[in-house]
Symmetry: D3
């Protein structure tokens, strides 16, 4: 994966997205003429996959004085323990104090998404996972969410913005809407095949109007060898997708000679459900995951000052001075 | 609250934040020359407080053809049931099909935040709740998150962007960082009082260096009548804030004659914990809530086509035709 | 319901179906010349619907001496409490001692079935229940099982033998085998209609080859007004029958103008599942119940001697003498 | 064990014990002139001991055309897995379609009993188990139930009919009724010894009137070396039989010099309770099991057509074509 | 109940039974010449029945200076809430500081016993409870334990020391040892009747050698009208005492004409078991309770200084100054 | 540990602390002239550490006839199994029958305490445990409780009486009361140091008025090298002592150069909590345990006669004759 390019937004730089009390703190310190070199450490509240560090780095590059700064960090996508220090900034406090909210917010949200993605990827044991969850988050974070899912191990994502950040192509099949508007799955599949560039895989969604194995055979007969796969997204009212359904679709396709058609599964999946498919021997070729990743709870991060002007200090409940962590690398 | 002003971002309008398969669907339909008037209904997966509708409205205003559209919706902040239809759009499908991801994404994220906020507000029984959770989300949604919290009933929020959207002033006291940089709580409190405009309440954070009751008495003696309140944010390592601690701080302040000093509580709060404070008679004057609101799981929404060119239709598992809901109001 | 006619089998009368030690007991008593008038009481181990009493009565009529007997009993189908005495026999012990195993065996098995049936009937709140469970029991008891189910409140049963005992007509629709042999549901339904007497309801099984709503519409269009109903028996691999499926089949039939077609549901049902359909407003016109009734655990009964030659006696753990129960009626 | 002889009853052959819809199916197919060779597979719903296959074989021998049939099956008493195919019939459908209910019913009930017996036998680790449960089932199945228990591993059974089917002698001691009628345990035991053939073991039931150890010593002193054993069947009101009671009876008999008297235990036993006796070192010489075996839930079996005229076919939810199972042996 | 007389032991007065650090504290204060009037409050850790206050009072009478003391307290046997102040002492600290351990220790142990007794008494709904638990505590506290049980509501106790403190007669029947030494229950009962003063009730223990109902009838026949009752103490190995056993003993005694013989139950009883007897209608005339009362966990009490020389003070976690409690009465 | 000296109290010898029915039994036997040599065995109801045997031995030495006694026992502090015989007395019954209550009472209470202590010691893995629980028991058993705790493995105890019995010095730091009376922790610590003999360790209690790390630094600066340690006893209202607090106190003391100051923890500890400290790496130098040990439930013991005049005998539920136990040693 090539390096993504993050550019801090104006609203971030101006402090608009931060807690007001940091703006006030900077104002007070300016008035008092206080700008000590201070060391802030940031640690996570639980174990997971660290994500957001590249975006944080882009911000720090912009705001820290080049000649008076020292920043140590874990890398994007690195595994972190509970309570592990993932970032340590030493610089004049006024240069970065305003951004505490922003820094921990980026890490919290992105690490939450990446960690949930990693759980799915681990459960799937090599079968590719695609992030399909843009529909459960605000569009302002759809891209960064899908980027985080890919950092967590997803093979692709459905949003254009996410794919752009991650430097690859967006992934997708066809929605129920296309089939409903066209009135028939076979008709929609033929149209899809007719107009889409050849590099887009031909994967038909086969649960809209007819029983899945019947519809699978219909699209296979219509497209012949051009059909790459079918997607099963059976709704809960119809018992959602089960391992037995996947096996039966596969068996009926095989019986009719369509042995190369792949089967993709989506709809309410999570690591437990993925494991259930695998343990029951369902021949799945790819999973599409929605809200388990995109609706994952952020991983709270905490920022603490541990040194001021080189002297160990800390609030009650913390140990004064630098917290040793050999995994940290100096990045600035 | 005055009407917030939402302006669809360029990335939203261009379809960059949507699932790729909707872009492909529109492309296929254009090629096929198909643009039927279609009715899409959107329903929630669980009960809660609907939020995001104003932002969705701003988008629809921009993309639906003025002379061929009919939109029915519940209002911003209205209570919704599980599976209740909250939005119904009738218009040429090509005009809005691209935005399905965006529309359900906005509603999902914002309703998740507003609903969590409402739970806290209900638990607090009239004691004001302030949203302090910007530090747990990506800065791109810090503002809309805080706006949603206020729609859910919060009295205020800590981010500048959220307050702007909601049309009020951001709220905050002082961070531990100010006190650590200045080296002493009393000194920091005096500086705060010296430089902040008079309309900013004087609320001192009293758990940084010394036992809370002792520090409360120190700042009360230093500021006298100017002190509006103290905030307790005791870390878990020190037993976090308990009802007994609040009562003791109050009792010791009263004993020393500082009966008007208010007490604000923050740190790991949720509705259960709020209830615990109230049931134990803790004299709290305000709660600051972080990740319970900002890290709330989005409420998934589902969009379904129910009519095409006036004819009832639906995918398997859905009932064809319009779903009656007398609570819907025509908004376009 | 007319009185069923039970005729004790030869194997029963000869003692072949009893525990060997009762045969030995009678032999010893004969050798000893002991044949006291003894009172035996029989009580159930748990509450339920008493069934089998008519068959027991037929046996006692045959074996007890007409001039020296007194029998008190609860009636067939009557509700009984846990530990309630349901039968009291006073007669010379040699005349009935051999049949203790048989008597408690009949009551145990039949009351177990009737009680399970009653639970389903209670849950269904007026919607008819048909016993479909002959396939889970040995054919020697298929009839008496279905008879017991009807005593427990079922509206009918599927076995010929059961219907004969209960004095009504057997009930049934069509099996998957008919449809598979004929190759198509519509073809099978038309043949059924062609050859079956007019009093047999036309109910088509609609889950064999196609999605249920689609198949329902096909058979409705084929038979028109002659179609009485459809049966849903969706297998677990397809999510079994759900309230949502019933509602959707109903809605799609209604939309197509087939408003009078009834919907019958079968497959793994029990009182909890019946309640689930009702609570979710599924428009079900009849339930077919299998192993919940026919595989019900027998209700153990215990037989104790309480008087010998008019003198109270009992084994350890029992109270000597007659146990009062005003609900008992003298039947012999 | 010698081969049992099963003879299909007239009511079975006439279709009286089957579900009515199979009779109707045969009627329709006859009218249509359809009688394809069809392959039916039967599989169990859970793991266990297969039983009833001999009785099914006797039926199939009678109804399948000798020159056009192929039957593969697991053997009587063989262990089967969940969902394992245990029987596959290929023959003209009209010859056997009527008996689907009967075939799965026999297997279900008998396998349920045999499986429960096996669980007890496994728990008892070599100590013999006798089936005492005829009193909890209808007399029409008392014999086949006890036969199934012996297939499952029981050393004997109490019903005459069961022993006949299994080709051995029925087992039993003496009932409470004998002792109550005779008024004293010692008197009853002496009479039993006087009249019973010498091959019947002398086992006295010692809980009727006196404390078990006291009564055990009384009968031991009365019968001397002729006493083979005592049976403990203490009722729940007296704490039922416990390991400590068995040990104490043994210890007091030993102390009095009756070291060869065996101890049999009955009353509410199941595998868990048997294990409890063994784990606590109770010197038990035999267990009598009642309703755990005879009231065992039948194991549901399912019959599916998988080929018609040599072509793979199946209803939704099943895989068309023959299901491979190398354990099946051809039996016809 | 007349006032018990408590006399502080020498080891208590000398400080031998206290925590060493109080002895050191008094030593330091003496050396420093510090002896301020201090107010100590004592509160309980959970709700219950206060007991031990009379003994504490006897100690305070001895050690507090008569002219400079003020003591407020709840009364012996009064109900107390969790965290309720039950005792407040104002006096020169040197006079009572040494006894903090002793005071809270007496209250803790005695209140634990009284509270457990109260639970049994409440469960028994008027049926008398006798404390039989001396055998589970050290003899040094056997008396004060039984005294506390009577404060909690017991009708009597088995220890001589406890009865003396409580001012009544000790209660008891006969132990198994007497019967075993004499070799027969009837013989032991006759001897008991022969030598015991007439005011001692004739209650025979009937589970030693024979089944309880049989032995009950034997002693009833031996003593005739002189028999006041029987005690059932059946061991666990024999299923301990059950409601059914009590009913059967009663029924068999009644049947034999001994309607006035009372039934006493002991052996592993607690409030839950007492309730079980009552709910099952067992005709019990008295319960003997052992370790549920005597092995009850002490109720921890905490002592805190709240004023020194009239000035409110308190350690962290406590509210300085007097805690209001209108239930307190001045006792010195 | 040197042998403790136990001296039976007069109230014990006179039978005042026993159950009245033993006094009556002795009286009856005297009148009957019965004094057989009888063997009594005593076994525990659960596994644990045997304690109290030395005190029992002192009693038996006094009451058993020297020329006609045989006593076998486990040793003080030895581990015992559930139901294991720990004491066997053979002597004329009149000589010891009166003391059954006393003997089992001593063993029950003392073994309960010793066993609880052993659990704490095992959990602490070498870190010393001090028994601080005198304040939760009646002063009459404070000494024997602390003695039992030391038998169970505690390194010391807080009561003077317990230390005397165990033959060592009582342990303790300083109470909150000393600090409150003196008004300041530093002042109290200096006074303690001034007046206490040099062999008493200087351990300051640091949670009374100020935050623990702050107070720890204050006393360390005041006493310098003379300070041996600090005790943390933080109340629940302040989050009680946590591993994090211990670590922070240690870190701040180390940072200030006080690396040798030890840390002692007390307040609501039990084995689970001790394990929690250890698993979290808290640098604790000693634990003070209160009610977990002193409020431990006594371990019930049962005494049974197993031989009278050399003949095996036993009540129902027990095995007559001597119970073999090779661990028993002859002690008299």
């Amino acid at each position: 994966m090539k390096q993504p390019e993050f550019e801090p937004a104006e609203a971030v730089l101006s402090g608009e997205t931060t807690d007001i009390y940091f703006a006030r703190t900077i104002e007070i310190l300016r008035q008092e003429g206080l700008n000590p070199v201070a060391t802030m450490e940031i640690f996570s509240s639980r174990a997971g996959v660290l994500c957001g560090m590249e975006e944080v780095k882009a911000l720090l590059e912009k705001v820290l004085p080049e000649d008076n700064r020292e920043v140590w960090a874990l890398a994007e996508g690195e595994t972190m323990d509970s309570k592990e220090v993932v970032l340590r900034i030493t610089a004049p406090y006024q240069s970065y104090g305003l951004y505490e909210t922003t820094i921990v917010g980026i890490l919290a949200h992105c690490s939450g998404w990446a960690t949930a993605a990693r759980e799915c990827v681990s459960a799937a044991g090599g079968i590719p996972i695609i992030s399909f969850g843009a529909r459960h988050v605000h569009p302002s974070v759809a891209g960064v969410m899908d980027y985080s899912a890919i950092i967590g191990g997803c093979a692709g994502c459905s949003s254009v913005a996410g794919a752009k950040l991650a430097g690859n192509e967006p992934a997708g099949t066809m929605p129920h809407a296309l089939i409903i508007v066209m009135g028939d799955t076979v008709k929609a599949t033929i149209a899809f095949d007719k107009y889409m560039p050849s590099e887009v895989p031909r994967i038909s969604l086969v649960d809209t109007f007819k029983d899945e194995p019947e519809e699978s055979l219909r699209v296979a007969e219509a497209l012949g060898k051009k059909l790459d796969g079918v997607r099963l997204d059976t709704p809960g009212e119809r018992g959602r997708v089960t391992p037995d359904l996947v096996k039966e679709v596969k068996a009926r396709l095989d019986l009719a000679g369509f042995k190369k058609v792949q089967i993709f599964v989506s709809g309410g999946l999570d690591p437990e459900r993925i494991t259930y498919f695998l343990e029951n021997g369902a021949p799945v070729d790819g999973f599409g995951i929605g809200s388990y990743i995109s609706g994952a709870k952020p991983i709270d991060f905490t920022a603490d000052l541990h040194e001021v002007e080189g002297k160990p200090i800390a609030k009650r409940g913390r140990i004064p001075g630098i917290t040793p962590n050999p995994k940290l690398k100096r990045i600035m």
